[in-house]
């Protein structure tokens, strides 16, 4: 294996890295230093103020780099395996690498001129994207951990990037502290797994574990590994960072955390538990639980659905509301993994993908409204219908899809997930979890409708006090496109389901 071959197979990652460096250089060379007030008024800081031209160039280069990377993805061979699974190219991995790149592309379109030091900000988004690509394309524990860390560190930075907002710093610190603790757990868990199985490749781990029974040590390793991922996907009770991060971070960072990071985490979590830990599946059936990872995930799912939905009921800030709803949705999505098998995994992948597009659109609307009205509390959205019918319509699509109403993608996604969960297990053992998830959906409809009520129905004086929402060409186009995707995948889910099922055919162990 020559380095040239390696470069060919890792072309998407290489292209994104190169783009990140170029964007960084452009940002550094074109910005001018000025004195502006810092977090504390007593301490003026020198801060780079970006010129419009430089931000446009930065965005353009970053977007172009991502498009080229997607192009490079499509020209990769369909199967390749480097260094015992460190870099695996398979239809499944390629599909989700493309999804991650597309989500990063959307994020960059939405990010336009949100923060100072725009070049650096875009460069960090691109670095996070590389982390996601590594995460998705690797089937080896060490490499997965590196991907997790690269993503995590970039996301901590992105969260804390808005230096004019003290909330952003707080969110970044919280995210970092929780995240690094969770990483430590994961690393410890992975080392235990390595000790038991004697290898770090996922397929080899499965073989190693098949020979032994579930010892307490192995179980500890599994639980610790899952802790790290539960943190990543914001499953309760490891969700405490999410509300602050979603609310405090620059909107585009929050969108990326909620979409790209989540998709990649679910893909790799699915591969770890279903492929690597396949032999110690256990069972989460009611009254017939068998120790293994699936009851652990089932408990996480149940907690997430309950806590996420109940706490979301009382939120008055839309971003916090989305954060708690994200916790609940992590719970729904876990249902597919608990169910296991090809149907369960494909349901999880479908759901997490459409969820990512829904949230990126919803955060896009939040970004526009925040730019125009200076806030993202619910009252900032009052009468949005009159101010911008397009945004209001798109928001309705996103909220109703999250609530799981037809003809939107969320409805089909839930049906697919719940039917997969219902089917698995002996004698419909997962009915308890399905019923709980439906109960959660019922609760969630209330708060999503409250959002829509504020947007569509609040009228009169208070709406006039707020400025109208101007036409933000690129943002609106991106948001409308996301809404179109959600609607399209609701009406023609076959488009994605067939692809996911086809790529899962290649994983024989399922």
């Amino acid at each position: 294996m020559s380095y040239l071959d390696l470069l060919k197979l890792a072309a998407p990652e290489a292209i994104v890295t190169l783009t990140a460096l170029i964007v960084l250089v452009i940002g550094l060379t074109t910005s001018r230093g000025t004195v502006v007030a810092g977090v504390s008024p007593a301490m003026p800081q020198r801060r780079a103020i970006d010129t419009t031209a430089s931000t446009v160039v930065c965005s353009f280069v970053a977007a172009l780099g991502l498009i080229v990377a997607i192009g490079a993805m499509l020209s990769l061979p369909s199967h390749a395996n480097l260094f015992q699974g460190m870099l695996v190219i398979s239809p499944l991995n390629s599909l989700f690498m493309v999804v991650c790149l597309v989500l990063a592309f959307f994020t960059i379109l939405l990010a336009s001129r949100e923060t100072p030091n725009y070049g650096e900000y875009l460069a960090i988004i691109l670095l996070a994207t590389i982390g996601l690509l590594l995460l998705v394309s690797s089937e080896e524990l060490l490499m997965i951990f590196i991907g997790l860390e690269l993503t995590g560190l970039s996301l901590y930075l992105m969260t804390a990037f808005d230096k004019t907002d003290i909330r952003s710093a707080e969110a970044g610190l919280k995210y970092f502290l929780f995240g690094s603790t969770a990483s430590a757990f994961t690393l410890f868990g992975l080392s235990l797994i390595y000790g038991m199985a004697g290898t770090t490749g996922l397929a080899a781990i499965a073989e190693g574990l098949a020979a032994q029974s579930l010892s307490p040590l192995l179980f500890a390793g599994i639980v610790m590994t899952l802790v790290g991922f539960a943190f990543k996907i914001a499953a309760a009770p490891f969700h405490l960072w999410a509300p602050d991060a979603y609310q405090g971070a620059p909107v585009s960072s929050a969108a990326f955390i909620a979409s790209g990071s989540k998709v990649a985490s679910f893909v790799v979590l699915g591969k770890i538990v279903l492929v690597g830990f396949g032999p110690v599946h256990g069972s989460a059936d009611w009254h017939a639980m068998v120790a293994g990872w699936s009851p652990v995930l089932a408990v996480l799912a149940a907690f997430s659905i309950l806590i996420g939905n109940l706490v979301a009921l009382v939120q008055t800030n839309l971003r916090r509301l989305l954060a708690y709803s994200a916790v609940a949705h992590a719970g729904y999505t876990l249902l597919g993994l608990v169910a296991g098998g090809r149907a369960g995994f494909s349901a999880t992948l479908f759901y997490t993908t459409i969820y990512a597009f829904t949230l990126i659109g919803a955060f896009g609307v939040v970004a526009v409204v925040r730019r125009e009205t200076g806030g993202d509390n619910l009252q900032n959205f009052a009468g949005l219908r009159a101010r911008s019918p397009l945004l209001a319509g798109c928001m309705a699509v996103f909220m109703l899809s999250l609530a799981g109403l037809p003809p939107l993608a969320g409805f089909f996604g839930k049906f697919y997930l719940f039917s997969a969960a219902f089917r698995s297990g002996a004698n419909h053992g997962l009915l308890w979890l399905v019923a709980l998830a439906l109960f959660g959906s019922l609760i969630s409809l209330y708060y999503y409708l409250i959002v829509l009520k504020v947007i569509f129905q609040t009228q009169g004086a208070e709406a006039h006090l707020l400025p109208s929402v101007a036409w933000n060409g690129l943002s609106n186009l991106t948001i409308a496109f996301a809404a179109a995707i959600v609607l399209f995948l609701g009406i023609a889910p076959q488009f994605l389901v067939a692809r996911i099922l086809a790529v899962l055919q290649t994983i024989t162990i399922l």
Binding site: P406, F418, F422, L442, K453, Q457, H464, V497
Partner: protein
């Protein structure tokens, strides 16, 4: 051809969003009239096999999961499509100048009821007073009329979809599709306590939907198919049927207003705008009953046998209880709302009998109540409330409305007579068929229901008398702070209102005089259903 009812309706809804507002009501009228023409034409088209659930469209949708875009029709579906289109046409006619409630002008001599106040009651003042200092009511109305008709057509189109779906998943998609438009119709254009009513209705519907969801998944996962005709042949284990049937049936019956899960209905009906109430009573409540019949009973016949007497008990309680509650209401719309629950109790009772007469009568009652309920709400919400701005029976009784609005009082008399079950109207034909069916299965229920019917007559007559025919007090005399009506200020009944009312009255009379027209198509379709064979 009947499938085009769905396509036309949704196409009309989409068109509404893109065309200027001036056209909106014409598009809505054209669309609904088109569906009415189609469904009526299908009734007279004899080359369709209405005795069986005959496939008309079948296209693969998500082959990986066995979902098809599969539409079918039989006599039951066609009857319900017909009543849906009739109600839709008349509800468009009754919202011809939607939300333009401001144009009523000064009605009460002392009543401080300028356009602005009534507009804010109807719920959506987005424009400030314009430069001339006069709030331009007509303009404000037109601002959202296309949105109003958009949601309205979504409800109608979704209902057509439910009645014609032969794929369980497709049916559920359409069923859930109806939920959100209802919320917006009520929360934006409604009146009295509209946000509460809208949210309650939506959450109840969604709760029912969640139960249905479990039942559907259970059937789908067990039988591995979503095709209703295939599922109807599948033999589910009695153990599955014993729990899946009640889950599925209750889930659907929430929307049909089964006691004790009926409480969304009166509040929802009262809060809704007139067209919304008409759709709720005329169409949406039928979705639940239809789902119970087509899905729950037909798929799980043994489960149905186990639970049918419980359903009958709930239905009888519903009939009597709702009628008794209606007797005590002061708000005219609440009276009608509870009467809807009572009438839907007859439908559920008919279904529970599990014999041809009872079930056919239930379907006929669905048609009949759709028409009569819509008519009652049209009179109460549109003809009376929009002109007098009150629905309080005590206040109405002072207004001597039979002289002020002779046409409205004529319509209300007809509607009340039909609602009470006077022979010659569709209500009588349907209820007598149901009761004969009930006599065969649950004789005791007939006696209780008979008492309930007396209550129905009592509250209907009471509402009729208080609203239209009470002795007037001296003009100008002030009772309880309410002043008498300035009769000349009442806007006369408009032509669209007359047309809508005539259409509905014609429907109830025609079916009352010649029920065979519908029964000839309903009975064979009912006879083809599985639970009858197993039951017999």
């Amino acid at each position: 051809m009947i499938a085009w009812t769905i396509y036309i309706t949704f196409a009309g809804a989409v068109l509404l969003l893109f065309l200027p507002r001036a056209f909106s009501r014409w598009i809505a009228l054209l669309t609904t009239t088109g569906t009415f023409a189609i469904s009526l034409a299908t009734f007279f088209c004899h080359d369709l096999d209405l005795a069986h659930f005959t496939t008309i469209v079948r296209v693969p949708w998500v082959p990986a999961l066995g979902m098809n875009y599969h539409l079918a029709v039989d006599g039951i579906s066609l009857t319900l499509v017909l009543v849906t289109s009739i109600t839709a046409v008349s509800s468009v006619l009754f919202s011809w100048d939607v939300a333009n409630s401001a144009s009523g002008g000064q009605l009460l001599q002392s009543g401080n009821n300028p356009p602005h106040q009534s507009a804010s009651r109807s719920g959506w003042v987005t424009q400030p007073v314009d430069a001339t200092g006069c709030p331009s009511a007509a303009k404000r109305v037109d601002q959202r009329s296309n949105e109003f008709f958009f949601w309205l057509l979504l409800v109608v189109g979704g209902s057509f979809g439910v009645f014609l779906s032969a794929d369980l998943f497709l049916l559920f998609v359409f069923y859930e599709l109806v939920i959100v438009p209802k919320y917006f119709l009520i929360a934006i254009w409604g009146s009295t306590n509209k946000e509460y009513g809208a949210m309650k209705l939506t959450l109840y519907s969604f709760f029912g939907g969640a139960l249905v969801f479990i039942g559907i998944i259970a059937a789908y996962v067990t039988a591995g198919s979503l095709d209703l005709n295939e599922l109807a042949q599948f033999r589910f284990t009695p153990q599955l049927q014993s729990w899946a049937f009640p889950v599925l049936f209750i889930g659907f019956a929430v929307l049909a207003g089964i006691w004790p899960l009926h409480t969304w209905a009166p509040t929802g009906h009262v809060a809704a705008p007139t067209a919304g109430s008409m759709l709720l009573a005329g169409i949406v409540m039928k979705l639940g009953a239809y789902g119970g019949l087509r899905v729950a009973m037909n798929l799980f016949p043994q489960g149905f046998q186990m639970w049918s007497s419980w359903i009958a008990i709930l239905a009888v309680i519903g009939i009597v209880y709702a009628a008794a509650v209606a007797l005590r209401q002061r708000d005219l719309k609440f009276v009608i709302g509870y009467s809807s629950v009572s009438h839907m109790g007859f439908v559920l009772l008919g279904l529970a009998t599990a014999n041809v007469l009872g079930v056919s009568g239930a379907v006929l009652q669905m048609f009949s109540h759709g028409v009569i309920g819509a008519l009652l709400f049209a009179v109460a919400g549109r003809m009376i409330y929009r002109r007098t701005h009150t629905r309080d029976l005590d206040e109405l009784s002072l207004m001597e409305l039979n002289r002020a609005l002779p046409f409205a009082s004529f319509v209300f008399v007809i509607a009340s007579a039909a609602s009470m079950g006077i022979p010659g109207f569709s209500g009588f034909a349907a209820e007598i068929t149901i009761l004969i069916g009930v006599w065969k299965t649950f004789p005791i229920a007939v006696w209780i229901t008979g008492a309930g019917m007396v209550l129905v007559a009592a509250f209907t007559l009471r509402a009729l008398k208080r609203s239209f025919f009470d002795t007037a007090v001296e003009e100008g005399q002030n009772v309880k702070g309410v002043t008498t009506l300035n009769r000349e200020a009442l806007e006369p009944i408009t032509v669209p209102e007359k047309l809508g009312a005539v259409l509905l009255m014609f429907a109830t009379l025609a079916i009352g005089i010649y029920p065979k027209f519908l029964l000839d198509r309903i009975v064979p379709a009912v006879e083809a259903m599985r639970f009858l064979k197993t039951g017999g």
